[in-house]
Amino acid sequence: MAPPTRVKTLKINNRDVGARQDETILEAAADVGITIPTLCQLDGLSNGGACRLCLVEVKGSSRLYPACVTRVEEGMEVLTNTERLTNYRRMILELLFAERNHICAVCVSNGHCELQTLAQDLGMTHVHFPYRHPHMVVDASHERFVIDHNRCVLCTRCVRVCDEVEGAHTWDVMGRGMDARVITDLSQPWGTSDTCTSCGKCVHVCPTGALFEKGKSVAEMLKKRQFLPYLKLMREERS
């Protein structure tokens, strides 16, 4: 008989919450209907804690914790929605918008974009940082898909889904800091990739219009992500 699951009790936003010991703060919060903003996190993929939007405050510590990769602990007191956090989250979004060229009005994902929705939800009205306007290229060499680096936020969902679910590991990240880019194979045009299976999973997990299907016009790119939890569940049951 498997050992009984250990349960931890903690407070999230002053609510008493019970969670399994292997759960993250993000999962424990979701169980009781508390939503914490996320961007790089996606159910069915591993978590990297890259975007920092899910940062939360934990009583007794001055540092902030990414909720997607921080496990619950007994007696923890978590705050997910303070003014300080909202300011930080808004700042992170502003930096994302300032870093590359996000032009919602003419984007294939306009109206269906996670970055855009987050900015609306968190009340981001202006970008208080100077836009960098980097010169970035569009790679349309693939027969069916396009990557527009202007709209990439480096969430690495494409990298993870390709590696963890499809098993192709076509995508990876090259360069550091502001020079970081997602690449296909050995930084070659996507259309020349030997490993890409053209499954399209990367396109559909991408939160913005960075990855899209060829021939889509403005606001026409609807991402379908339902496949991921099903796929994961079916594989777990088989193993």
Binding site: A105, V138, A140, S141, V146, K214, G215, S217, V218, A219
Partner: protein, 475 residues
């Protein structure tokens, strides 16, 4: 002593421009120029973008006539796809294009032009705007606002929003028309028809008051260019190019719009960012031609709808040959609104208008595409070249306002010579200088983004640049 008069900015036009009038030693008008003072660079910034994005990207050229750019751009993309779009899609695009012409013409005639027409060219500039019209002629102002709303609502019903709808796409449109929405549009057409008919009656009755303006507002021989359909009738979406001269004779007909570079060339002058297109066989600047409502009624053999055909015949009877005064652009606009409403009704009664088959799909099959349509202000050309991946490598746009550039310059000179003598410059005279520009309804918005009554500064400068006199109009 030579002098220069500057009107900066020009008011009640769509966008930013300034006018300079040069006086010679005797105070007589020597030269006049229209300066478009901003640079947008759309032809450059689209480089490297997927061609599928172009209609929406190029629609951002203008917030007043985005549909015109959507249409011309989508047609250029159709050519890149090398598809013939489904017939219902072509009809639906036409309906939206006509709705665009109605709302834009209503804006030009009522919101921008009617203060001059109703309150008078010499009336108090503080009142000479749409609000002044609302106070003194509330019925006329309401008609204008209602007519514009009619056009804008059709655009919204078809495309989901009034400004910059993303509905017109390469290969057709992205959603069919529902029966309910068609009926909504049809239910609104009788009122719109009544509005434009009573406006035409009133405008025609009042023409006598403007004899001096009619005589001097860019009233000179020129060529006229635009699209006509196979039967030589008024055409706003497709068709071929026809050019007529001042006597009304056809100079060139059945020209392929996609071969525009064979008969249109563009000159550049140092004082403005707007280029000067001219008719290539005649040369620059003698190859002056006009486009837009006046030109379209001059080149067409008929309109093709019953009420508009009657008005068209009356309009053409104004003058033997072509109607030459640019003051009549206002008149032509009303006739076109009438035509557009009738034509929308006609198209919406087509048996296939509710068809689900509204989009052709294909990849990039041609490396180059040219799209031509009639915008409210005249013939609009979009021309793109793509690389093997379908990314734009080159784009050229000829906007309607550009075609009229030489004519506007000459019209300014004509009005300035007629109304400005010596150093005494009345406010009414300066307003007429602006009004001749307004008659063309130039869309500087296609090169800028502001609209409305802006402060007007007039400076009288000596030959060495010293300020002789100065006057302000409040914003």
């Amino acid at each position: 002593m030579a002098q220069q008069i500057m009107i900066d900015p020009v008011t009640r036009v769509e966008g930013h421009a300034k006018v300079s009038i040069h006086l010679d030693d005797n105070g007589v008008v020597d030269a006049a120029h229209l300066h478009i003072t901003q640079f947008r660079g759309f032809e450059k910034l689209c480089e490297g973008r997927p061609f599928y994005e172009m209609p929406s990207l190029m629609a951002r050229v203008c917030g007043i006539c985005p549909v015109s750019h959507l249409v011309a751009s989508a047609k250029a993309c159709d050519a890149i796809l090398a598809v013939r779009i489904p017939e219902p899609a072509a009809k639906l695009r036409q309906v939206m294009n006509l709705a665009q012409i109605i709302q834009s013409h209503a804006l030009s005639f009522f919101h921008l032009g009617s203060p001059d027409l109703l309150l008078g060219m010499d009336s108090d500039p503080a009142q000479r705007n749409l609000f002044g019209v609302l106070q003194q002629y509330p019925e006329r102002a309401r008609d204008g606002i209602r007519l514009r709303q009619f056009g804008q609502q059709i655009i919204e019903l078809l495309g989901g929003k009034r400004i910059h709808p993303a509905w017109i796409v390469p290969g057709g449109v992205n959603e069919p028309l529902s029966e309910e929405r068609r009926d909504q549009i049809l239910a609104a057409t009788p009122e719109a028809l009544q509005i434009v008919q009573r406006t035409l009656d009133w405008f025609k009755r009042g023409l006598d008051q403007f004899r001096e303006e009619i005589q001097s507002f860019a009233n000179f021989p020129s060529l006229f260019m635009g699209l006509v359909n196979d039967s030589g009738g008024l055409e706003l979406y497709d068709g071929h190019i026809r050019i007529v001269d001042a006597t009304g004779h056809i100079v060139a007909d059945r020209l392929d719009p996609t071969a525009y570079q064979e008969y249109i060339a563009e000159a550049v002058e140092p004082w403005t960012y707007l280029k000067y297109p001219y008719y290539r066989p005649v040369g620059y600047p003698e190859g002056i031609y006009r486009v837009g409502p006046l030109a379209r009624l001059n080149i067409a053999d008929h309109c093709g709808t019953p009420l508009a055909d009657q008005e068209w015949a009356e309009f053409r009877a104004l003058q033997r040959g072509a109607v030459l005064s640019s003051f009549y652009y206002h008149y032509a606009r009303l006739v076109e609104v009438l035509y557009s409403i009738e034509q929308i009704e006609y198209l919406l009664h087509a048996p296939d208008i509710l068809s689900e088959h509204v989009r052709a799909s294909a990849g990039p099959n041609n490396a180059e595409g040219i799209g031509v349509s009639e915008a409210p202000r005249g013939t609009l050309f979009h021309h793109y070249k793509i690389d093997a991946q379908g990314l734009i490598v080159w784009a050229n746009l000829i906007i309607a306002t550009g075609h009229n550039n030489i004519a506007m310059d000459r019209g300014l000179l004509q009005v300035a010579r007629h109304f400005i003598n010596g150093e005494q410059i009345s406010e009414g005279a300066l307003n007429r200088v602006e009004a001749v520009i307004r008659a063309f309804d130039p869309c500087f918005s296609c090169s800028t983004h502001a609209l409305g009554q802006m402060p007007l500064q007039v400076q009288l400068l000596g030959p060495n640049g010293t300020l002789l006199d100065e006057a302000y109009r409040g914003g």
